[in-house]
């Protein structure tokens, strides 16, 4: 029998997005192709949605 709560599950529609930044081991944060920290581009972070309350919910349930 299917647990009641799972009757309300829905596809996220999210695919594995590629982000235009990569981790810099020296700076210990993610940087853009031009070397600037990814967090300096706030418009990009808003667009990629990587800081939202549902980000990471697949592995972490602390929204």
């Amino acid at each position: 029998m299917r647990p009641f709560t799972l009757n309300y599950a829905m596809p996220t529609g999210q695919s594995a997005a590629t982000t235009p930044y990569h981790f810099d081991v020296a700076l210990q944060l993610n940087v853009l192709p031009d070397g600037r920290p990814a967090v300096s581009d706030r418009a990009l972070l808003m667009a990629t949605g990587t800081t939202t309350s549902t980000a990471g919910s697949q592995t972490h349930f602390d929204d």
Binding site: F4, T5, L6, A9, L27, Q28, L29, M46, T50
Partner: protein
Amino acid sequence: MTVLILTAEQDVTADMVVAQLHERGVPMVRLDPADLPGKAVLSADYAHGDFDGYLSVNGHVLSMGGLRSVWVRRPGEPAAHAAEPSPWLTAETRQALFGMLYSASTRWMNHPRRAEQARHKPWQLRVAHSSGFAVPPTIVTTAPRVAQEFVEEYRDVVVKSASGPPPGEPPVALPTTLIGPDADFSGVAAGPALLQQYIPKRADIRLTSIGTRMFAARKAAVPGQVDGRFGDTGHAWEATAVPGRIARSVHEYLVLTGLAYAAFDFAEDEDGVWWFLEGNQGGQFGFIELETGQPIADTVAEWLSQRRPAHRIPEGH
């Protein structure tokens, strides 16, 4: 003295704090426990009645004697990136890493033991009661009849997951959803259901608490909206003041839970009452800072940067 951040490399919200620590000139090491063993190396020495330990990753080295604070953000499972991962290797690696960190005298945001308990939503509701928050009537049950009676009593009721969506592919979401009395409750016997009276709201409130600092943000709701995390309402998050009564309850909640950080969700009703929905011990804050400009990352960095008090015995909080 060095700050240790336990999180995944792709965690850009942590980057916001790392950037602030760099600006402050505070040494830090960022480690994903998934990279241990392998990319990261650990040694802990318990001999001659004394203790010391070392962590290194990507050329950054941390001594337990120089550990200032630990921020548990979005860590991977220990040993998840190992060449031959296994549940046993994860358990062994968790013992080595956290056993060493618990042996050090340091400050935690948040201590894993406190965090583990604080993740339990039913317990959150009880602590919220004790803290003086308004809490919607809620039931957690595996009895279909009890669930049906609850819905018949309160009429407008939502179902929500206590632990988040199930893992797996393709990914699914479990948004908080309104249910009606005509729902088939037989599935309640197959898994605990958390049902809560729906609070018609005029706004969602997100309150981020760091130590003694609080930042509240408000987003106007649209009629009939249930879960503010899903769907675009056309409204943005805006900074808002924290009512004195709420501030006192938040303080009490943090004392009772032993948390240094928490992100609270409230529903603001038509009378302006903030109804407690949940307190997320590791809740996201990046989206709030980006929309409101509130200096949350800087405040987290400030908390992590504070010097630890001198204790001979490792702190349990």
